[in-house]
Amino acid sequence: MFEKWIELGLKKGLKDLEIFAVRHKSLKLSVYQNKLDQHVISDVESVTIRGIFDDKLSTVRFEHLDTEKVDQMLDLLIENAKALTVKEPAIIYEGSSEYPVVKDELFDFNQIDVKDKIDMLKKLESGILNNEHVKQVQTTIYQEIDTKTTLVNSKGLNLSRQNTYAYAYAIGVFEKDDDIKTAYDIKLVKTFDEFNVDEMIKTTLDKGTAKLGGKSVTSDTYPVVFSNEMFADILEVFSSIFSGEAAFRNLTSLKDKVGVKIADERINFIDDPLYKDAHFKMPFDDEGVACKKRYVVEKGVFKGFNHNLKTAKIFNEAPTGNSFGGGISTTNLYLEPSTTTFDDMIKDIKNGIYITDLVGLHAGVKTISGEFSLQASGFRIEAGIITTPVKMIVVSGNYFDMLNDVDQFANDLKFNLSGVGSPSVSIKNLVIGGEA
């Protein structure tokens, strides 16, 4: 089918074109009050065509895959390419010399009975409910996803990659003396038997009960420790500053900082598409460029931008295999951990704040200037140990300053579901807004 579409595109006058097709199958189940609440099944195939007309590249994406529609979308692509006024490199890739082999198992979650999945959710829900502080479980969710991606182009490239995984979590609502808190623990697996419901129940209950009875703190400057999950979430938001597109568009303050020390010399940011413990492994990016491990920041020095084909050409560098979702992003970006345990890391902190939750990361962050101001909760650190819960505070600072103000790193590297990882990190000083 795709070969015919490519022929059609060439016949219409496109110099080159590429078809990027994704078949996405999913099952989502949710349980509420020991009953199945939602059951959603899907099977959708979508196609993105990138095409070059008159040396200009434009993109169309569609889900209506009839031949008539393809014809119409190709015409639209040509029309849109004509509207471009800028001459930027327009490249359809002939392929890398070799591609890494991903050896992950492709488990067929379909072979597990739906009833077993629902039973697992019911067990998870009832286990969390079986606690004096749990008022209710807001929702209990299981989702399995199977995506197959095919990339075919007029330069003869024909690649495919597939990924299957599932995840589950339950949001517990905890209550004690009018104080309400929610907690959950997301578990992502590559095979069904990796789900350990008892462990998920325990983690959710531990997280939720620990948060109860939290108080604000006096507004002041404190040493601040971010949990591994939260520091990863912050890194994820700021990862756009490493994008070659942002550099080209003047939308990153790192523009002239390649080779310059931008962070504490102990900081290594690594993007590793094949990292052994990562949730997702990538043999090639969305333009067909082979993915490979690279240092984004090494010993505090910014090593260079993440590129797609276009920005690599503009900066006269090799593409880095970071073209994803129509833009530039990372595969498995992580901050390298140290060998220090978490307990050792905090043992010298006399009066600090340990942050385990951040809310509103999409709103309280300015990626260009590095400023952030975020609603947070967590715990006090007093005399080197974690003590009482803290809530309704705002942690503020500047990401670039923070990278130079790191006290220590822990050894507890953890990846979030977007493939960004970090250990817990202690920062010497940050401003905390709380009570007057």
């Binding site: 899907s42 195939e45 029309e79 509207a83 939308l251 509103g360 200037s369 705002v394 905390i432």
Partner: protein
């Protein structure tokens, strides 16, 4: 797409194993995005969302499936998969009725306007931003156009199509001085076509965005403190959207996950507070003629003089709550089952004057423009970022401040509103929740909240 007779057959098939409600939702949507960066047309893209969603319900138990193949066979295969969840007696479908007319005021649809006319407008606005000041190092303008065609048919006889035409213009400026970079942004949108350019003074707006980015270069980080906050009209309404709107959605209320459960008829805010959610405000970004369950949209009273009057309800949650739906069922696309969502949510105008509210404030923060925010419905805690703010000292606006983050509890804030001006305005945004990302308006006149916790990076030791 499929004709009425085939849809009726499919609905009958869906009910054949005991479901008491069946619905088929068909969608064909075209969107386009054109970007101009520093004067050049740098990217164009088009996108088509196409498929069918099938929903079966028994009592309040729901199963949903979707496919991008709108054919009898593929929809039947989804139905067969879904109906296996039910077993019981057969419910009769009501015959599909005739379509009602949807309202369309669209003057110039996306396909009727030439690329040239679109890019000319964007380039003109881009140049206005770039040439405003030497310190503007980047300007981005974008045109986002969407035409969503939907048809919903269900076993209650609903057979309704609707066309939703949305046009939005994004304006962004980045200013740089020494090593400091600041950005400012506006993104007005309407339920209309290209005539949005006749409706809104974009030249004025482009200048405002450029001014805002330059102003932020000289702004100081605000010191964290508890203080009165004056929230300006328009996008300031995001506070009400996050802190009150979401907890009033039936998705939160039906599960008892909202501080407003069981509070209809009770006092939930200060006497001067009245608020609505309007699904049918003319040309509004959050508008639809019919909701995604095929029910006509309406204007819903939420709070009147501080008394809670209503929730936003879809059919399924309505059954759970034993209340009537309010025309508020929405979804991003056929890939989501519909649920209760907001449209154009706003605080009604009061009697105060904007200037008097500032004059009346000895010390506080004037939040002129807000960024996004979040609320955790179960706890009622919310946060939102101030994009452009000024200190109020002795009744006057003084220095610009940046990095302010407001946090609080929805139910406390409503009682702390002590001034409401007469200058109602709307702001536009995309609201993300369980049924996906949808266009909504937030709105309010200028209001004052007597005390809020304000976070910021100032005063660092």
């Amino acid at each position: 797409m499929l004709d009425k007779k085939i849809l009726q057959e499919l609905i009958n098939e869906a009910l054949s194993t005991g479901a008491d409600f069946a619905e088929i939702y068909l969608e064909d949507t075209m969107s386009s995005r054109i970007s101009v960066t520093s004067g050049d047309v740098t990217s164009t893209s088009a996108s088509n969302v196409f498929g069918a969603g099938v929903r079966l319900i028994l009592g309040v138990d729901e199963v949903y499936g979707y496919t991008n193949k709108i054919t009898y066979d593929s929809i039947l295969s989804v139905i067969k998969n879904l109906r296996a969840s039910f077993s019981g007696k057969l419910f009769e479908s009501k015959p599909l009725q005739n379509k009602k007319l949807y309202t369309s005021h669209i003057k110039r649809s996306m396909t009727e306007v030439s690329s040239k006319e679109k890019t000319d407008k964007l380039q003109h606005l881009n140049n206005l931003i770039s040439s405003y000041d030497k310190r503007i190092v980047q300007s981005v303008t974008q045109l986002l156009e969407t035409e969503q065609n939907i048809l919903v048919a269900n076993s209650n006889g609903v057979y309704q199509d609707d066309v939703r035409t949305y046009t939005r213009v994004i304006l962004m400026a980045v200013a740089k001085e020494n090593d400091l970079m600041q950005q400012a942004y506006e993104g007005p949108g309407r339920f209309m076509g290209f005539e949005i350019f006749d409706e809104i003074d974009f030249d004025q707006l482009a200048i405002e965005v450029a001014t805002s980015a330059i102003t932020l270069l000289t702004a100081e980080d605000i010191k964290p403190q508890v203080m009165p906050v004056v929230l300006h009209n328009g996008f300031g309404g995001v506070i009400f959207h996050e802190a009150v709107g979401h907890p009033l959605e039936a998705t939160a209320v039906a599960k008892g996950l909202s501080p407003f459960v069981g509070k209809i008829g009770e006092k939930v805010g200060s006497d001067i507070l009245t608020a609505y959610d309007d699904g049918n405000a003319k040309n509004a970004w959050g508008r639809l003629s019919f909701d995604d369950e095929g029910m006509p949209t309406q204007k819903n009273l939420l709070i009147e003089n501080g008394i809670l009057k209503g929730f936003l309800i879809d059919q399924r949650n309505g059954k759970k709550m034993n209340m009537d739906p309010t025309g508020s069922a929405r979804r991003q696309s056929y890939k989501y089952p519909p649920t209760s969502r907001m449209n154009s949510t706003y605080i009604a105008p009061g009697k105060d004057k904007f200037e008097d509210i500032i004059k009346d404030t000895q010390y506080g923060l004037f939040a002129k423009k807000l960024g996004g925010g979040t609320v955790v419905p179960a706890t009622g805690e919310f946060n939102f970022a101030v994009q452009e703010g000024y200190m109020i000292e002795n009744g006057k606006l003084t220095k610009p401040v940046r990095g302010a983050m407001l946090i609080g509890h929805g139910k406390d804030v409503l009682f702390k509103i002590d001034k409401i001006a007469d200058n109602l305005e709307f702001g536009q945004g995309m609201c993300g929740s369980i049924s996906g990302s949808i266009p909504v308006d937030v709105g309010q006149p200028t209001i004052r909240v007597s005390s809020m916790t304000v976070g910021g990076a100032g005063g660092r030791k």
